[in-house]
């Protein structure tokens, strides 16, 4: 057991740290939303610049544009991205779809798709969620029907994250009416400008952008199919594992807490600095402990990813659980400490910390992405502790029981 980094890894961290220090504007807040056109081109430019240096994906194999440094190096990079509030236009591709394609894609797909991604040149969207298939991914209705050497896709996706114009769509669609439902899904990668694709942005509260995407007789070749037909659900779950091994969230929380502690040392209430208030001190100490626990869980997952490729549910779900739990409770504690000032937004001359806590608090509402904390508990209970499954129709049963008791 060893919680330290090698010299090479420390060197990589320093290089990347210095790179962001130099490249990011002096007065910089990663919370700046919505993304203006100017900001969009800034991030796109920085993504390419980082890509040229190999800073996006040093953990990936060399033959696909990485530096071949493994999962710990990748964890370091992700941590730095969290620390600096980096918002890559292709975050979805770089951190989810890309690594999953490396795992499940064909040799042709890997050599075609992965190097441009490592260079920071492309943007991918992950088209999974549908109006009737959110946490219940197996209920996907978008259809891909075989037609000669092609597939023809029809259907609708919703809440697809991304403020940029995508180059590729990483899409889950139904290829069979199977029982159980999840054995009839397949995964495709195809260009976003394929005829029949319509992308409609959905501006969200808090300045985030999601999209509605419509497929109207979208014809894609069979080379777009990832892995085997009807195995898409498993590839999708594999994709999510990467989401849960990311060290960025805890690193971002750590930096935010450091800044908040600094703020509490200076900011006064009733003539005294906030940190002299025992309630404030207790809240800060609580957050500091939780951030470290979160960070360790994320690192353990990142480490196991390198060692075993696949994780046990208690590994990755812990990190995800903490992301949901502390990602919500910490902004709340900070809001409590700020009092009424906490409600002021960026732009108000009385707003504290440029209104970033208010935005974090709003942003915490979107932490349901990739599954709510309730879903995580269900998964932990089932797969982690081996408890029996909750009946799918539990809600219906409860409603019935309530009706009968009247």
């Amino acid at each position: 057991m060893d919680f330290t980094f090698t010299q090479e890894q420390l060197q990589l961290r320093k290089e990347i740290h210095d790179f962001y220090m130099n490249e990011l504007p002096e007065v910089f807040s990663g919370y700046v939303t919505p993304l203006s056109e100017e900001l969009q081109s800034f991030w796109m430019g920085l993504q390419k610049k980082a890509g040229e240096r190999g800073y996006l994906t040093p953990g990936w194999p060399k033959e696909y544009g990485g530096l071949g440094l493994g999962s710990i190096a990748q964890g370091i990079v992700n941590e730095e991205e969290g620390t600096w509030h980096i918002r890559w236009p292709n975050a979805i591709g770089l951190r989810l779809a890309g690594p999953a394609t490396l795992l499940f894609g064909s040799e042709e797909q890997k050599s075609k798709f992965i190097p441009p991604m490592a260079r920071g040149e492309v943007v991918w969207f992950e088209c999974f969620t549908e109006p009737d298939a959110g946490s219940d991914e197996s209920n996907i209705q978008t259809r891909a029907v075989k037609d000669g050497d092609d597939y023809i896709l029809n259907g609708q996706k919703i809440y697809i994250t991304g403020a940029y114009k995508p180059d590729f769509l990483y899409t889950l669609a139904r290829t069979a009416d199977s029982t159980p439902k999840h054995r009839g899904l397949s995964l495709f990668i195809f260009p976003a400008d394929t005829p029949g694709v319509t992308i409609r942005p959905l501006p969200c509260m808090g300045g985030y952008t999601a999209n509605e995407i419509f497929f109207d007789n979208v014809r894609v070749s069979k080379e777009c199919l990832v892995g085997e037909e009807n195995r898409g659900f498993y590839y999708a779950m594999g994709t999510f594992e990467y989401e849960r091994s990311n060290t960025a969230g805890a690193a971002a929380a750590k930096r935010e807490l450091q800044e908040f502690v600094q703020f509490c040392k200076v900011e006064k209430r009733n003539g005294k600095p906030l940190i002299e208030d025992p309630q404030v001190r207790r809240a800060l100490a609580k957050m500091a402990v939780e951030v470290e626990v979160w960070r360790l869980a994320a690192w353990r997952t990142a480490w196991r990813f390198g060692e075993r490729e696949r994780l046990g549910p208690l590994d990755y779900d812990l990190t995800g659980f903490f992301t949901k739990r502390f990602g919500t409770s910490h902004p709340k504690l900070m809001m409590d400490i700020l009092g009424l000032y906490g409600q002021l937004r960026q732009g108000s001359k009385w707003a504290k910390l440029a209104g970033c806590i208010e935005r974090k608090w709003q942003g915490a509402r979107s932490l349901h992405a990739a599954g709510t904390i309730e879903i995580y508990k269900i998964v932990l209970a089932g797969r982690g502790l081996g408890l029996p499954r909750v009946p799918v129709k539990l809600n219906t049963l409860i409603m019935q029981a309530l009706e009968e008791s009247k």
Partner: protein, 124 residues
């Protein structure tokens, strides 16, 4: 970065688990709750023979020169079995204080006795 246990630590863990499952059943734990001493001197002797009392002391005091992580492996197993013993006060609290701050005479006198199981210390 490495979250795994070394081969030696895995061995220690397995050995400790097997030993404690056999030697420290729940009945013993319950019995010791009503015991005047609160621990079993016979079991303490066996633990000394296994080298658990000298795990983190240098060889010149009769120990095996392990580190705190080795001890953590052992403690997880002792916790799992709810082993009633004065290990913490003797080896860790008092023993490590002697090792860290004791004079050469104190160390040479006391530590080998701890390792052999002949000296039980209490941290008041």
């Amino acid at each position: 970065m490495d979250f795994s246990l070394s081969e030696e630590q895995e061995m220690l863990k397995t050995m400790a688990r097997d030993f404690l499952e056999k030697e420290c059943p729940e009945s013993l734990v319950r019995e010791m709750e009503r015991d005047d001493k609160g621990y079993s001197p016979e079991l303490w002797r066996k633990i000394a023979d296994l080298g658990w009392l000298g795990l983190i002391y240098p060889e010149k005091y009769g120990g095996t020169g392990g580190n705190i992580l080795d001890l953590v492996v052992l403690y997880e197993e002792m916790g799992r079995a709810m082993l009633p013993s004065p290990h913490l006060s003797t080896v860790v609290l008092c023993g490590l204080a002697i090792l860290t701050a004791g004079s050469d005479e104190q160390k040479a006198d006391l530590l080998p006795k701890i390792v052999d199981g002949d000296l039980i210390l209490h941290w008041p």
